[in-house]
């Protein structure tokens, strides 16, 4: 039997575009309250950026100029400080080392946290709650507590002064955080999607990689961002577990103290260079940040 064709008119009406109603944002109660808000925000941002600006400003000055008095713009603009960093492998390798172990940590954290977060968001199993709490409690462990044991542990297995040692050590706080964030995002994905996929004949790994991971893309982006952030900014563990080959830039910066006094310009330039990767990363995730900062749990 042939399917009855729908009436031509009905066709036309069904085809009418379903425009999502666009609400203009309800205007704020008072226009000047709004202006006050903008002004307040601008003030806050200026105060926030002032210390950073000062660092940037200093990085383009010579030490003589720095010590001779305050000025908002460098009088003798110089790139010497940066040239010194880029011309000396012991300096710039610090950046390479940092980026290297941070990336490794990001990959490891995501790889192990993804299946675990899935398990926590979908299944009940013996000890699940305790396991979850124990994981989170590691986020509360002061790195200072683990300093010495880490040093001994990684020395004894021959990993001291390698990138992987720092990457693994940072897993202490990044893996629990990653599991926590991802679990939040995954719980927002309806179970029915999993079930439909299984009915359609997907195996678990195939379903996970092909269907599930694309669904929580933004969650993964946000998790990677947080892993990057906490690994990039940490110094205590990174410094303790390295000496030469994997020494992070943040630790190398302490070299600017020498017998002849502080090399302020060099210190400032090195500092500025550590801020840039972070800004780059925020720029890439800016559209997910609003949701991401609530860790998927609003």
């Amino acid at each position: 039997m042939t399917q009855p064709s729908t009436k031509p008119i009905a066709h036309a009406y069904k085809a009418t575009k379903e425009q999502a109603p666009v609400y203009s944002r309800a205007e704020r109660k008072l226009r000047n309250a709004n202006l006050r808000g903008r002004f307040g925000l601008a003030l806050y941002v200026v105060l926030l950026l002032l210390p950073i600006y000062w660092l940037v400003n200093m990085s383009f000055k010579t030490n003589t100029e720095i010590l001779s008095g305050l000025s908002f713009f460098p009088e003798n603009f110089t790139l010497d400080n940066y040239a010194k960093i880029f011309g000396d492998p012991t300096w710039y390798m610090g950046y390479v080392n940092s980026i290297f172990y941070v990336s490794m940590n990001m990959v490891i954290s995501l790889l192990v946290a993804l299946p675990a977060a899935y398990a926590f968001s979908r299944y009940k199993f013996i000890g699940d709650k305790h396991m979850f709490f124990w994981l989170l409690s590691n986020r509360m462990a002061p790195p200072a507590v683990f300093l010495l044991p880490f040093f001994q542990l990684y020395s004894s297995v021959g990993l001291f002064d390698t990138h992987i040692a720092v990457a693994l050590a940072h897993c202490l706080f990044n893996v629990p955080l990653a599991v926590w964030i991802l679990e939040g995002f995954m719980s927002g994905v309806p179970r029915e999607i999993d079930e439909t996929a299984y009915i359609d004949g997907y195996s678990f790994p195939k379903f996970f990689v092909r269907i599930f991971i694309p669904l929580i893309r933004s969650g993964i982006g946000v998790t990677a961002f947080f892993c990057f952030m906490f690994s990039w900014v940490e110094l205590l563990l990174a410094r303790t577990l390295t000496s030469v080959d994997a020494k992070p830039i943040a630790a190398i910066m302490t070299r600017t103290v020498s017998a002849s006094g502080m090399d302020w310009g060099l210190l400032a330039a090195a500092g500025v260079l550590t801020i840039l990767p972070g800004m780059l990363v925020i720029y890439f995730v800016r559209n997910h940040v609003a949701k991401g900062f609530a860790l998927g749990r609003v």
Partner: protein, 384 residues
């Protein structure tokens, strides 16, 4: 309490509208009389929520004016218009008790506490919320939450109108019925102008005295449920109202000497002579004919006025049956009562002249006769 007039109103979300399609609301003039219960019916995206938000002041119309009792209110903010609005998803203030929720609009305008109390108790009584007053609003069920949001509109004495934006979407079916009755009862008791937006024709016709059907940013018909059913002013109304909707088919006006006939393929469809004359005067060759499945006559035997058609299939819906048949290659439907014999194979159908509606460019063509109320046609805006 107020009559709401929309005067040459139009709204667009784009900055430089050029075509009529750029408008979410196309220019319209419309009056909601004081004290009436009205429904605004239409599919999603037709502009009905936009229209509601313009009335409440949440949106500023790009053109035209909104008048409350003849006074222009375009410049007034929602809080100054004294309207109440109930949204699709219940809005309650989670951390407050039901009592505080109901008292909120009164306290905001500084009503003395003893008055707040008596008013809240009164409204809670009507909405059957009296025993919930001390509870936190957070723990309420969806229908109770929706009642609370309605109650916030009712506590104010000065409310000009209550606007409902599909308020029963999240309510369980059996409770929908109860709440709708409650609304009706409140309307009778308070005599407030109420405008109820919905896409559900049943909801619209049980709640409202008069329904405005909206399509593509325009009100295509404003009338009682009966008028909408019997005399759809626009093909969309025929399609949207009724279940199943109207049968439509294209016919051609042909002249055979002096005589005009309306032909659907090689079948002649009978309409009144006055109609034929009118169509000729309009110069319309192609017309759309519409007939409700309820009005299609089904004959078992041969009949001189009836057409010979093939039965496609029959759906039994319990209290009635829907017969689908193929008429000149087009699927049409007829509604059969429960006890009518189920035909099969070949049957005969006829279209009573009185119920065969004629549309040109989607708008109903009417010829003046006693059965048509002339005022109705004034409500129909012209197609752009």
């Amino acid at each position: 309490m107020a009559a709401i007039t929309l005067n040459a109103l139009a709204h667009t979300y784009t900055d430089n509208p050029t075509k009529p399609e750029d408008y979410a609301i196309r220019e319209m003039t419309h009056v909601w009389e004081q004290g009436g219960a009205f429904a605004l019916l239409g599919p999603s995206g037709c502009g009905k929520s936009t229209l509601l938000n313009i009335i409440s002041g949440l949106l500023k119309p790009s053109n035209g004016e909104v008048l409350f009792d003849g006074k222009r209110v375009n410049e007034l903010k929602p809080e100054e218009r004294n309207i109440a609005q109930v949204f699709q998803f219940p809005v309650v203030y989670d951390t407050m008790t039901v009592f505080d929720n109901l008292a909120f609009p009164l306290r905001n305008i500084g009503v003395p506490e003893y008055k707040v109390k008596s008013k809240v108790y009164e409204v809670a009584e009507i909405l059957e919320l009296s025993d919930q007053l001390k509870r936190k609003a957070k723990g309420l069920s969806a229908d109770q939450k929706q009642k609370v949001s309605m109650g916030r509109g009712l506590v104010r004495d000065d409310v000009s109108a209550i606007l409902f934006d599909e308020p029963l979407t999240v309510i369980d079916p059996q409770l929908k019925w109860k709440l709708r009755r409650k609304l009706k009862q409140i309307h009778e008791q308070f005599n407030i102008t109420m405008v109820y937006v919905t896409h559900d024709q049943l909801e619209a016709s049980t709640f409202a005295d008069k329904i405005a059907v909206m399509y593509n940013g325009q009100i295509v018909q404003f009338g009682t449920p009966r008028e909408l059913f019997e005399n759809p002013a626009h093909t969309f109304v025929g399609y949207f109202i009724g279940s199943p909707g109207m049968n439509f088919f294209e016919a051609e006006l042909k002249s055979q000497g002096e005589k005009e006939t309306l032909m659907f393929g090689d079948h002649e469809i009978s309409v009144s002579n006055a109609m034929l004359a009118r169509l000729k005067a309009m110069g319309a060759n192609k017309v759309t004919l519409g007939i409700r499945p309820e009005f299609v006559h089904v004959w078992e035997g041969k009949n001189s006025d009836a057409f010979h058609v093939d039965v496609d299939y029959v759906e039994d819906l319990g209290t009635y049956k829907i017969l689908s048949f193929l008429f000149h290659g087009q699927v049409m439907k007829a509604r059969l009562s429960e006890d009518q014999k189920v035909p099969s194979g070949q049957i005969y159908v006829s279209f009573p002249e009185q119920w065969t509606k004629v549309y040109v460019d989607d708008y109903l063509v009417e010829v003046t006769d006693a059965t048509v109320d002339n005022d109705k046609t004034k409500e129909i805006p012209h197609a752009n």
